[in-house]
Structures are given as structure tokens and as C-alpha cells.
């Protein structure tokens, strides 16, 4: 019996158990950078020509949830709402949305400026 105990607690076995324990911590994977809500499915609906009002409602609801959890809206989210607002003639809201996209992601600057200048013209 004594010999069996020593076998199980050999240094190599203990190290393997510690590594296994550490690795299972990694099993859950890294956190995603963003919360997306239904952004991609709503994009598909946009491309299929479905109701803009319904898409706005869904994205606004998603936006509330994402912001309430303290997260930042992902790339394109504000801008897509801007596109939908513009399509409904809500130009002020569209401009605010494009500006929000630009504030959140400086890389969006040139394109958002382009869109906002077109709207003003």
C-alpha cells in the first residue's frame, strides 16, 4: 500500500495534474472583443430588402443592451443605424450616428466625413 501511494504522488504525476488543472482554465477561451447582438442577421435582412423600421427597432434594442452592460458598440454598428435612419429621412439622427461611429473608431473618420458631407449637400 505504501509503495502505491508514493507512485501516485511522484513529482511527474503531480506536475501533470497541475498542468491539467491550469489548462482547463484556458478551455473557456478568451473573451470576445465586442457584443454584437443581431448585427449580422440584421445586415442580411438589409441586403434582402426587408423592413427598415423593424431593423431599426432590433438594432436600437440591441444597442441598449450592449451599452447597459458597459460595452462599446462594435465597428459598423452606429454606422448601420445611421444608414437606416437616413433611409427613413431621419437625417439628424443619421448624422449623430455617423459622428458616433467616428468618435468610437478614428479609422472610420475619412469615410464618415465623406458620408456626412454628402448628406449636408
Amino acid at each position: 500500500m505504501k509503495m502505491k501511494m508514493r507512485h501516485y504522488f511522484k513529482p511527474g504525476v503531480v506536475l501533470a495534474m497541475v498542468l491539467a488543472g491550469g489548462l482547463t482554465g484556458c478551455a473557456s477561451g478568451p473573451q470576445p472583443l465586442y457584443q454584437w447582438g443581431s448585427y449580422q442577421p440584421e445586415l442580411y435582412k438589409y441586403f434582402k430588402g426587408e423592413s427598415h423600421a423593424a431593423q431599426i427597432a432590433q438594432l436600437e434594442a440591441d444597442m441598449q443592451k450592449i451599452l447597459a452592460s458597459g460595452k462599446k458598440l462594435p465597428p459598423g454598428f452606429n454606422a448601420q443605424l445611421g444608414l437606416l435612419y437616413a433611409g427613413e429621412g431621419k437625417d439628424d439622427q443619421a448624422m449623430k450616428a455617423f459622428q458616433a461611429e467616428k468618435s468610437a473608431f478614428p479609422e472610420a473618420g475619412p469615410y464618415m466625413d465623406f458620408l456626412m458631407s454628402k448628406k449636408k449637400g
Binding site: Y34, Q40, L43, Y44, F47, K48, G76, E107, A108, F114
Partner: protein, 216 residues
């Protein structure tokens, strides 16, 4: 016996070594020199028989690219901008000069995607929705190709339980279901995720918003 074991071990190591040597890792020199922050995804070229391919793919590229750490330009707005300039087909869009793209969109790089397979294939004992795509990332300032990749995914039935008759009937049903339920769409999501996720072998490098940016 001992010598035989030693010989087998040496042969095994040699086989492993040559196996490892046969894969040429992607040369990231141009990619690392460019370090693009933003990616303009153009509407994908469609070489499949299914008209839904272009927008099926385009609507599912944003998540993997942004999660890899890049700013992805909003794909529906980009598509509208092209339309308003009289460019409605992916072929025409892919032919737009790089300097024009950079002037309007201000992105560091453009992603040219081609969908080579999209749709259902009836294969007697299974009906399979397959989406295959390839992509090329081009630096807008220089025209250099920073990265190329390809991926394929399907909803093939891995469960071969039930006899031949059961499989034939299930395949016929699955073909109808695939057609009615736009089965290629979720498969396109899998293809896009695999194609555009950083961190896999020969995949995109992590972008500036990712914690692992510049670690590769």
C-alpha cells in the same frame, strides 16, 4: 529487440521531421510592414450558382474581422456607396482602382473575397450545403498583397446510423429543408469565421484592437 526499438524510434522521428518540413508557413513580411488598422471589405465575387452567395458572405465578415482586432468599414454603407456611383456588380467593384478606394473610404487595406462554392449538392445519401471562399488582402497605398487565404465549410451529415434506405430518405428530406431554410447561410458564417479569424495557422495577423496585436 532493443536495437530494433531504437531503429523504429529513429525512423519515427525522421518521418515526423520531414512531415513538419513539408508545410511552408505563410510569409508575413509584407503584412507586418503594412500593419493595416482598417479593412474595406468589397462585395464578394460570386462563382457559385446561388445568387444569395454575395450577400450571404458579405453579411457575415464583420464579426470575425473585428474580433481579430481590425476596424471593419460598415459593409452595407460601403455597398450603398458603390451603388450610388453606378457600381452594382462585384465584378465592377473589384475593378475600381486602389487610389479611388483609398480616397473615398480612407481604409488601409481592401479585402477581395470570391465565393467559389455556395448552395446545396444532392449526394444521394446526404444533401450537403457547402460554402467555399478565398480572399486577398491588399494594401491600398501600395497595391501590395498582404495576405491570401481560403476556407470551406459544410453541413455534411456525419452520422451514418440507420441503413441505406433511411439515409436515402433523410437525404431527400434534407435537400428540401436545405433549400427552404437557406441552409447555406449559416454554413457561410462558418466559412467566414474560419477564413477571417486571426490566430489560426496561415491566418490573418491580429489587428490593432486585439490584445495580442504585434505579438506574432
Amino acid at each position: 529487440m532493443k536495437r530494433l526499438l531504437k531503429w523504429i524510434a529513429l525512423m519515427a522521428i525522421a518521418a515526423l521531421a520531414t512531415g513538419c518540413a513539408s508545410h511552408q508557413p505563410y510569409d508575413y513580411a509584407a503584412f507586418k510592414a503594412a500593419r493595416p488598422r482598417s479593412i474595406l471589405v468589397l462585395p464578394p465575387l460570386n462563382e457559385s450558382k446561388d445568387v444569395k452567395a454575395t450577400y450571404g458572405m458579405l453579411s457575415q465578415v464583420s464579426v470575425p474581422l473585428a474580433e481579430s482586432g481590425y476596424y471593419v468599414l460598415p459593409v452595407a454603407l460601403v455597398d450603398e456607396t458603390f451603388k450610388q456611383n453606378g457600381l452594382t456588380t462585384a465584378g465592377d467593384i473589384h475593378a475600381v482602382p486602389l487610389d479611388k478606394l483609398q480616397k473615398i473610404f480612407g481604409a488601409d487595406a481592401a479585402l477581395y473575397v470570391t465565393v467559389t462554392k455556395y448552395g446545396n449538392s444532392y449526394q444521394l445519401i446526404d444533401s450537403v450545403a457547402t460554402v467555399e471562399a478565398k480572399a486577398r488582402l491588399v494594401e491600398l497605398k501600395t497595391g501590395k498583397v498582404l495576405w491570401t487565404g481560403s476556407a470551406v465549410a459544410s453541413n455534411a451529415n456525419n452520422d451514418s446510423n440507420g441503413g441505406l434506405l433511411v439515409m436515402l430518405v433523410q437525404a431527400a428530406i434534407k435537400q428540401v429543408v436545405n433549400e427552404l431554410s437557406d441552409a447555406s447561410y449559416p454554413v457561410a458564417g462558418m466559412t467566414s469565421n474560419f477564413l477571417l479569424s486571426a490566430g489560426r495557422q496561415d491566418g490573418l495577423l491580429y489587428g490593432p484592437y486585439h490584445p495580442m496585436y504585434a505579438t506574432q
